[in-house]
């Protein structure tokens, strides 16, 4: 309190009951779950300029039901808990979720006769009894364009698909609406624990941002080992596993209906071809273990590998169909082959790790939120917040409005729906402006992209980037020179014309 009365313009001091470090899918799911309780002041510290800037955005939108998750793991438990909630959650958060099923395609008799039964058996060991081995004829009913070599497949009907960044945005926005405070570009540099202090944790971020907390939850993804070490929990390291992906033009979207894998590789599930809820096909990922957590670069080698694997399942794939490539770094722990979730092992510190989240992070996120809340309830009594509003409205998409009448209705409500800004994805000015009004208050080009899909199409922002800059400038009164792609340091332009020398 005394600190606040002092005039310290730069130094902010905030106090929260719970501070969550990291706003990926796990942090956002925990934040939303905790926002259901009224005696918690929760904040989230995120190093990047928006939620969903790391692993959570860079995956293939596959929601697994647990068939390929090892039995007797926390991971499986989390995935199963989540799996019970997707339909309801999708309704509450206004996001699309479809149980489209997934397939492991056998491309040889050996795979059909030996590999498929083995994966079916292991799915059953993990408690997923609904899988079926189907023959080529039945596979063709689901995926008519699959390779002529395909002998059949293991069909996992309970798997589903959801755009991961839509999920994270929706969770975070709903949490924010229910009182969780998000801080962006706050990279945690130090965590001080003092058993005797009023608030046991004093957390320092870059730029002299300081925050006090009673509880800390670490969901820092790739950096969760570093955060954990700051709290003296040292026994694991996160080594990123790189996956490279190709994105195809939407016009080929109808060639694949669901999520189609080859047979699993020894140490990872293999490359898949997926149709996302947005209608793009994606080919990937690869799996390559790294040391450098910042290495988000695509490589010729990795892309080629993913492509070859995809082409085996769908031989008609041509590189000329692709519009983009990207990388996801799975935040896995090399030594512990499971999620690391629980209280600090010293038995005293009010610090929870939600770390080592392997490639199933999106699928396990909701369960993790639930479980971490239960952990917290062991040490504080949580009171339900009667005002909690589980509903969050997404931005209505002009392109997704199916009928003429629906489109006309959107325009009648808001004339900005009649102005197309992103030509490839047909995103309107109304949607860009709605994205700029997001409850998290972020406004980088990538933030707009994840919320509207503008710049995500075949021209990759060639046409609309300059128009979006103008809209941000106009609506938010932001100098175009300070508009970034994704946070400070990534300013899009460097100066005004006539001012470079």
């Amino acid at each position: 309190m005394k600190l606040e009365s002092k005039k310290e313009s730069k130094k902010e001091n905030k106090v929260f009951k719970v501070v969550i470090v990291g706003a990926g899918v796990v942090g956002s799911a925990i934040a939303r779950e905790l926002s259901m309780y009224k005696n918690l002041e929760v904040s989230v510290l995120e190093a990047e300029d928006d939620v969903c800037c790391g692993t959570s955005k860079a995956n293939n939108s596959h929601i697994v039901c647990g068939a390929d998750v090892n039995a007797n793991t926390i991971e499986l438990e989390m995935v199963k808990r989540s799996n019970r909630r997707w339909e309801q959650l999708a309704k509450e958060l206004d996001i699309e979720f479809v149980r489209c099923g997934s397939f492991n395609v056998a491309l040889s008799d050996d795979e059909f006769n030996n590999v498929l039964p083995a994966i079916k058996k292991s799915a059953e060991e993990s408690g997923v009894m609904s899988t079926r081995i189907i023959d080529r004829r039945e596979l063709l009913e689901y995926e008519p364009n699959v390779s002529p070599e395909a002998r059949g497949a293991l069909y996992i009907p309970d798997d589903g698909s959801m755009l991961s960044y839509y999920l994270v945005l929706a969770l975070a926005e709903n949490a924010a609406q229910n009182g969780v405070k998000f801080y962006f570009e706050k990279r945690v540099t130090d965590i001080k624990y003092d058993l005797l202090a009023k608030h046991k944790y004093n957390i320092k971020c870059e730029d002299n941002f300081v925050i006090d907390a009673d509880f800390v939850i670490n969901s820092a993804g790739l950096y969760s080992d570093k955060i954990s070490k700051l709290a003296g929990w040292n026994n694991f390291d996160i080594h990123p596993r790189k996956g490279e992906f190709w994105v195809l033009d939407k016009k080929y979207g109808n060639k694949v209906n669901s999520i189609v894998y080859g047979c699993p590789q020894p140490d990872y599930r293999g490359t898949t071809v997926v149709r996302t809820r947005d209608g793009n096909l994606m080919v990937g990922p690869t799996a390559r273990d790294l040391v450098d957590k910042e290495d988000k670069s695509t490589s010729e080698w990795g892309l080629e590998k993913a492509w070859e694997a995809g082409k085996k399942i769908f031989p008609w794939l041509e590189k000329s169909m692709t519009i983009h490539q990207y990388v996801g770094l799975r935040a896995r722990c090399a030594t512990i082959k499971d999620y690391i979730i629980g209280w600090h092992p010293d038995g005293e510190q009010p610090f929870i790790n939600a770390a080592g989240i392997r490639s199933t992070g999106i699928s396990g996120s909701i369960g993790i939120g639930e479980y971490v809340t239960e952990l917290l309830a062991q040490r504080i009594s949580l009171e339900m917040n009667a005002d909690f509003n589980p509903y969050r409205k997404g931005i209505k998409s002009f392109a997704k409005a199916e009928s003429k009448e629906e489109k006309e209705k959107l325009i009648a409500e808001n004339a900005d729906y009649a102005k197309i800004v992103c030509r490839c994805q047909k995103v309107t000015e109304a949607e860009i402006k709605a994205a700029l009004d997001n409850p998290l208050g972020v406004h980088s080009l990538d933030a707009i992209k994840r919320r509207t899909k503008a710049q995500m199409g075949r021209c990759q922002g060639g046409f609309c980037t300059s128009r979006i800059i103008s809209i941000i400038e106009e609506k938010k009164g932001i100098d175009p020179l300070t508009i970034t792609k994704r946070g400070s340091g990534s300013e899009v332009v460097v100066a005004r014309t006539k001012e470079v020398l």
């Binding site: 190709w246 988000k296 000329s320 009649a418 047909k426 460097v494 014309t497 020398l501």
Partner: protein, 442 residues
């Protein structure tokens, strides 16, 4: 020019008001001059007419058509002035065409704008003139990180010349296409340092005059036979790695160029999403529609011209071809009976990448009407595959191998500069060509 009139049925709707659309709309309006009721609608998605010409502030336009050296905006102004004088053209800007729907009697165009909302318009004929878009980093699958500072050359041009925003200070340009070289000069003039222009081909892919005036004039290092192999930088581009394409495996051939910006000028793609969705037959070589010498597509009454048909290097030819398309569309709209004709194919042979039109109409010959045709003038636009020295264009009847046309010997032909020939088919030749002509350069 009207801006607000709507009517039940338009004679011609032109989609896109860049150089092709402007020229097509004016030609359509002109050729229907006697019929005052004839109506042309020109639809443009941007807020101004002229398309990409508005950001092409450099000169070099109009040398063929006007015998003048004009800048892009000046060239556009010429057409926009004429457009405004035409009473039978209605022009809508800020209007986005969502769909072109071919119908048996009247075709339909679905568009949306603040002024008119979502509307479905009917037309007797449609001219597609949507232009093209730039190939991106994603098309090349260029490895590396994805920081700020990667632009297509055209986007950078718009930012610099229209928005007044500089894309970077130290720039590497991949691809020696025309826009890339023009931007090398433009950014240099505005105070940026262009560290390199890199092209994987052994020659520049744009016009020679652009190499001389945009690259050589400013001593910008030109790396032919090279490509960018990696992009570095987390938040903003920090450097790009380039390598000799003939020696890609040799790490010694790789070098790092520090820069904050990478511009891509690696080709243009006709914007044919509307065309393909309408079910119009496409040419894989041009990535545009298959057309006859009236620029009519496989669907009667739908025409295509300009860069949506095939990517041109000189706007003058775009304008003159688009005028033919516009005129033909107006004629189609005025027709009550479709004239019968046969079509012959133009096949591309030795050294030729593609040729437009792909089809030539010749009047249906019948023994009873011997007077139907005498000669027909044909213009073909085409590109050679590689730079060729001391060659000529030869067109033969594929059936009997007889030479129909032989061009003058040219010292050099380059892929970056479109070739055009004009020749006459006489009645005798037309009768003898059964299926196709063969276009070769040798």
């Amino acid at each position: 020019m009207n801006t607000n009139n709507t009517c039940d049925v338009y004679d011609v709707i032109v989609v896109g008001a860049g150089p092709a659309g402007l020229s097509a709309a004016i030609a359509a309006a002109n050729s229907a001059a006697e019929d005052s009721k004839s109506k042309v609608l020109l639809i443009e998605r941007d807020k101004t007419f002229g398309g990409i010409l508005n950001q092409c502030i450099h000169n070099g336009f109009g040398l063929h058509l006007f015998k003048k050296d004009l800048t892009g905006p000046e060239y556009a102004e010429h057409f926009i002035k004429e457009l405004k004088e035409k009473k039978n053209i209605t022009s809508w800007c800020n209007t986005f065409v969502l769909e072109v729907l071919p119908k048996k009697d009247l075709h339909e165009v679905v568009c949306v704008s603040r002024e008119h909302g979502l509307c479905t318009l009917k037309a007797k004929a449609i001219v597609l003139a949507m232009g093209c878009r730039e190939r991106t980093r994603g098309h090349l699958a260029l490895p590396g990180t994805r920081p700020a500072g990667i632009f297509t050359a055209g986007t950078a041009q718009r930012l610099t010349n229209i928005e007044g925003l500089m894309p970077g200070r130290r720039v590497v340009i991949l691809g020696s296409g025309d826009i890339g070289m023009i931007m090398a000069r433009r950014l240099t003039l505005e105070g940026a340092k262009v560290e390199a222009v890199v092209d994987r081909l052994p020659y520049v892919s744009g016009l020679t005059r652009n190499r001389v005036q945009c690259v050589d004039d400013f001593n910008i290092p030109l790396y032919l036979n090279h490509t960018v192999t990696f992009i570095k930088g987390n938040k903003r581009v920090e450097a790009v790695e380039i390598a000799d394409v003939n020696d890609l495996q040799n790490s010694n051939s790789r070098r790092l160029i520090e820069c904050d910006t990478l511009l891509l000028s690696v080709g243009l793609i006709p914007e044919n999403e509307l065309t393909e969705a309408a079910g119009i037959a496409m040419d894989a070589k041009t990535a545009g529609a298959l057309v006859d010498d009236n620029f009519q597509t496989s669907i009667p009454g739908i025409f295509a011209c300009g860069n949506v048909l095939h990517v041109s290097d000189l706007v003058d030819y775009v304008s003159s071809d688009a005028a033919i398309a516009g005129c033909a569309a107006a004629h189609f709209a005025a027709l009550t009976v479709v004239n019968k004709h046969n079509s012959i194919k133009v096949t591309t042979g030795e050294n030729v990448t593609y040729s437009v039109p792909q089809m030539i109409n010749i009047p249906a010959t019948s023994a009873t009407s011997a007077t139907s045709a005498t000669t027909k003038e044909v213009t073909l636009s085409y590109r050679v595959k590689t730079p060729l020295k001391d060659v000529r264009t030869v067109i033969t009847n594929q059936k009997d191998g007889k030479i129909i046309f032989e061009g003058a010997r040219k010292k050099i032909m380059r892929p970056g500069e479109m070739e055009r020939v004009k020749f006459n088919l006489n009645k005798d030749q037309m009768e003898k060509i059964e299926h196709s002509l063969l276009l070769e350069v040798k």
